[in-house]
């Protein structure tokens, strides 16, 4: 059963079997506005927590999405190349950004649960 975590940078992670699927929250997509381009990461790339993993571009601006934990990219959501607006319409579903193999599962303990995230965005 997947467990979902959140970051104060408005990302969500759904973790199952040592693999995290990562996306941005509904709150984040609303703040960003209509997305027109998503710069996806290369599969196989190793990221440390805080590294830029993806750049999402709205009509007006580009914003970095950071790796919430250490790990190796195992998949990027190629559907976003053709339809970046999936991040707006289904941020926690079809609009996921990438999957990564966790390097250190103990890092998950430092993340928020849903109630903690809701409290964070007020």
């Amino acid at each position: 059963m997947a467990k979902t975590y959140f970051t104060t940078d408005h990302e969500w992670l759904s973790v199952e079997g040592g693999i995290a699927t990562v996306g941005i929250t509904d709150y984040a997509q609303e703040q960003l506005g209509d997305l027109v381009f998503v710069e996806l990461p290369e599969v196989g790339k190793t990221l440390s927590k805080g590294d830029t993993a993806v750049v999402v571009e709205s009509v007006k601006a580009a914003s970095d999405v950071y790796a919430p934990v250490d790990g190796e990219i195992t998949a990027a959501n190629e559907a976003l190349s053709a339809d970046p607006a999936l991040v707006n319409s289904a941020p926690t579903g079809d609009g996921w950004l990438w999957k990564m193999k966790l390097a250190d599962e103990s890092q998950l303990a430092g993340l928020l649960d849903e109630a903690g995230y809701q409290a964070h965005i007020g």
Binding site: G33, D34, F37, E57, S58, V59, A62, S81
Partner: protein
């Protein structure tokens, strides 16, 4: 930019809050950036129907008196006395090096009466600048406190007619004073037919009650205002125009009458003549990035061999053209449409074509 607490608020902020606007800072003002529809829908609505913009951050100056035309002729590279009644022109305040301090619209409202519309970010400097000239000419410069609304789009004239305004006498780039303390011009910043109306706050609230009740009308935030003007190839001062760029490099010499280039005594005339004699080293051009990735302001451009070619000054996505759009300055030999350049986007070389402006055709009502 100062923190939000220092931002000025629009007189109609309550109206925008009620409409669900998301606010952000621009040129010292807290401005509606988007409404609940979002930038893509707002942009397209303006192209298809009517967009309503609160542009009260912009400043109106009334210049009056026997020396009004002479003052404007000194301050701007324009022949104010040659303007017909109600005619508007794009012009500039230049510095001594012919750098663009601000771009403005000047409208002749009477023999000794002119309206000057200036950008928000430069309003205070423009006021001091204009008043500095007033000492030398028999003229008065009066900044006006007005709500300023833009009504833009193919159905703008119909919508204003339905609201009881007489718009039919106006053609593109003409302006009048239809009521006491009103200024209305057929002009805008979207490439569409449209109007800009400066009026007292109470009158504005009455007019808005009619306009926002019309289903063809939708509020448009600053985000879509920017994408609309960029598709239309229109410049934003502070990005595409600045004290470091001159009208020749900016490809805006069409705004300066030919005879003035030789004989004008406006501020910056000598420097501009020298630039024209040599030819500008760089030119403002349209830029069309290949693919879907936007190329933003500040991005460096190179030629096919990797040599520096210029810089992007405005860039984003064009919702109605469906691809990224940008403007920037490139060395003059590279300014021809079709020239292949490359933009350095976070280390990736994105191919960019020099492109003719506008990206979205102008649909002005020229009568």
């Amino acid at each position: 930019m100062a923190g939000d607490e220092h931002l000025k608020t629009l007189p109609l902020e309550d109206v925008h809050k009620a409409a669900g606007a998301r606010f952000g800072g621009f040129a010292g003002w807290s401005m509606p950036l988007t409404y609940p529809a979002g930038v893509m829908k707002e942009h397209q609505h303006c192209r298809d129907h009517v967009g309503l913009f609160d542009i009260s951050h912009m400043k109106l100056f009334l210049v009056t008196g026997p020396g009004a035309a002479a003052l404007i002729n000194r301050a701007c590279p324009i022949d104010a006395g040659a303007l017909e009644q109600s005619q508007s022109k794009l012009t500039f305040f230049l510095n001594d090096q012919a750098g663009i301090r601000d771009d403005l619209i000047v409208t002749r409202l009477g023999a000794e009466r002119f309206m000057v519309v200036a950008n928000a970010g430069n309003a205070a400097a423009d006021e001091a600048h204009l008043k500095g000239f007033a000492k030398d000419f028999d003229a008065e410069v009066k900044p006006l406190d007005r709500v300023f609304l833009a009504v833009q789009g193919p159905e703008a004239a119909e919508v204003l007619r339905a609201a009881g305004l007489d718009v039919d006498a106006l053609t593109f780039m003409h302006g009048v004073e239809p009521r006491a303390n009103w200024f209305m011009s057929r002009s805008g910043y979207t490439g569409e037919d449209g109007f800009e109306i400066g009026l007292p706050e109470n009158d504005a609230r009455d007019l808005l009650a009619k306009l926002t009740g019309d289903e063809r009308v939708q509020w448009i935030g600053l985000a879509a205002r920017d994408s609309l003007r960029l598709e239309a190839g229109l410049c934003l001062h502070g990005q595409d125009l600045s004290p470091e760029t001159d009208p020749a490099s900016a490809a805006l010499m069409w705004a300066i009458p030919k005879e003035l280039r030789a004989s004008g005594t406006f501020v910056g005339a000598d420097a501009l003549r020298a630039i024209l004699e040599k030819g500008p080293a760089t030119k403002r051009v349209g830029l069309k990035p290949e693919g879907r990735q936007p190329v933003r302001a500040g991005t460096k451009l190179t030629d096919a061999d990797g040599n520096p070619a210029g810089e992007v000054t405005s860039g984003g996505f064009g919702p109605s053209v469906g691809h990224p759009v940008a403007m920037g300055y490139v060395s003059t030999p590279l300014a021809k449409a079709g020239t292949k350049l490359f933009a350095d986007v976070r280390g990736t070389k994105v191919p960019v074509d020099v492109a003719a402006l506008p990206f979205s055709p102008h649909r002005y009502h020229k009568g």
